[in-house]
Symmetry: C2
Subunit: 265 residues, 2 copies
């Protein structure tokens, strides 16, 4: 088909050396979630790992702010990507080195945030990650870092720098979506759990009540959770010790492909 | 909680000016798929849009290769991101300007490819996209661009530059996964279609036979496709004119959230 292209194909793209290329920075940012029991009412809440942008400097100045009450503004953990690491390796390195957080049960790429002026001065493209920590994983955060409740009214956008609030919203949206068609809750739950406990985790992550009986029915039928044959401690409300369950897999999988579309065995 | 961090939090990350930052390039690459009838057997196949890396230069030299038989190596369309555009805008711009391809029915971010030496010399991070074009959308490609069959045996990795073969595999994997739990096929199908036609599209995209009757049952029950009340032309095998269907939505949605987990109305 003889066709004169309006624009010639840019055949030199694979090895470009455009002289006018602007300075560009790539940063890795992670929204790490954990369901934690905070506050006095004992209700588990979805929390996100943040650090005080000014926290570290205060430490250097004699720890005047190291009283456990940093004031923000707040930022997601992350930073530059090193010359010999992938973005995922960089995300894990920043979490481990800067915030002493390791042992994520799940880490996946979220969107890339690339609005031209999302950060003043240098054009910076943020490659973002969603990380999940089981509810029973213990962390010891350095000064200036906190687990902040995702839904708290005072998590005003103004308290977070740049577009970090949008990134948290995107991570929360992804998590809620995947809770509905994958087994991703394995990365938020303890290894063994009572169904009432799992129900509280779903509820915290999705933002609305989830019926424990329905949840057990759906997750059992799809073989997402299986009974361990053991029982846990009697809960706050008394009664019989609850049966304990575990997730069948500890890797992400879609739990309900259309039956008609499954590949032949 | 008094805690001396092993590594101080890098409080200057939000406005970094590390002097030793390496030169970094971000490229946008798109794997654009269309189900096309190629070859003599009339079977629809999943095809991907590629361009000949050397094609444009040959055009400049008098069109010696402009015979409709470019030889590769092949690359995915894309290139640098402009100072005032997002990555998605950049992806669409490269497709329109370089390959005269517009009218994508769906474009979504795929993974970021960030292996340190995926391209020699300059560290280049590829932010990749999956684009879908309906099977009845017409394209007029410039010389040096082709629709290549994704599953063809001669689509050897060596015929594609760098990691572009991996990117195509990732795009294909994403598409197959989403076909099984979302309505994403709306972006591959014509506006109205016989179920046998949709079945062929699923089959081409997923790589295995899909039963038309089962497909109709599953997609109807989930209200993914609806009858238009009209009929199409009688097919090759004769018989009654087939009923025509359409997708209920032309935006991506998950078609089977766990019933128990749906938000309250």
């Amino acid at each position: 088909m003889p066709h004169e292209p309006a624009h010639p194909p840019a055949g030199d793209r694979p090895a470009p050396q455009a002289p006018d290329r602007q300075p560009l920075r790539v940063e890795v940012l992670s929204a790490v979630f954990q369901v934690r029991t905070i506050g006095d009412d004992g209700t588990p809440r979805l929390c996100v790992l943040l650090h005080d942008v000014n926290g570290a400097r205060d430490n250097d100045n004699g720890g005047s702010r190291a009283t456990g009450a940093p004031g923000g503004p707040w930022a997601l953990p992350g930073g530059d990507v090193g010359p010999e690491e992938t973005l995922a390796q960089s995300a894990r390195r920043h979490l481990a080195d800067d915030l002493d957080v390791a042992g994520l049960a799940h880490l996946e790429q979220l969107s890339v945030f690339s609005a031209p002026h999302r950060i003043p001065d240098t054009r910076t493209i943020a490659s973002t990650y969603l990380g999940l920590l089981p509810s029973d994983a213990e962390t010891t955060l350095p000064d200036g870092a906190v687990w902040a409740q995702v839904d708290t009214p005072d998590r005003a956008a103004s308290a977070l720098i740049y577009d970090h609030g949008e990134i948290i919203d995107a991570a929360r949206h992804r998590l809620a979506a995947k809770l509905s068609y994958t087994n991703i809750a394995f990365a938020l739950a303890p290894e063994r759990f009572a169904m009432s406990e799992l129900s509280e985790i779903y509820c915290a992550a999705m933002g609305y009540m989830v019926d424990t009986t329905n949840l057990l029915r759906v997750l059992s039928r799809r073989a997402v959770v299986v009974a361990t044959g053991t029982v846990g401690k009697t809960g706050r409300s008394g009664g019989r010790p609850p049966a304990l369950y575990r997730f069948a897999d500890s890797e992400l999988r879609v739990t309900d492909e259309f039956a008609a579309l499954r590949p032949p065995m």
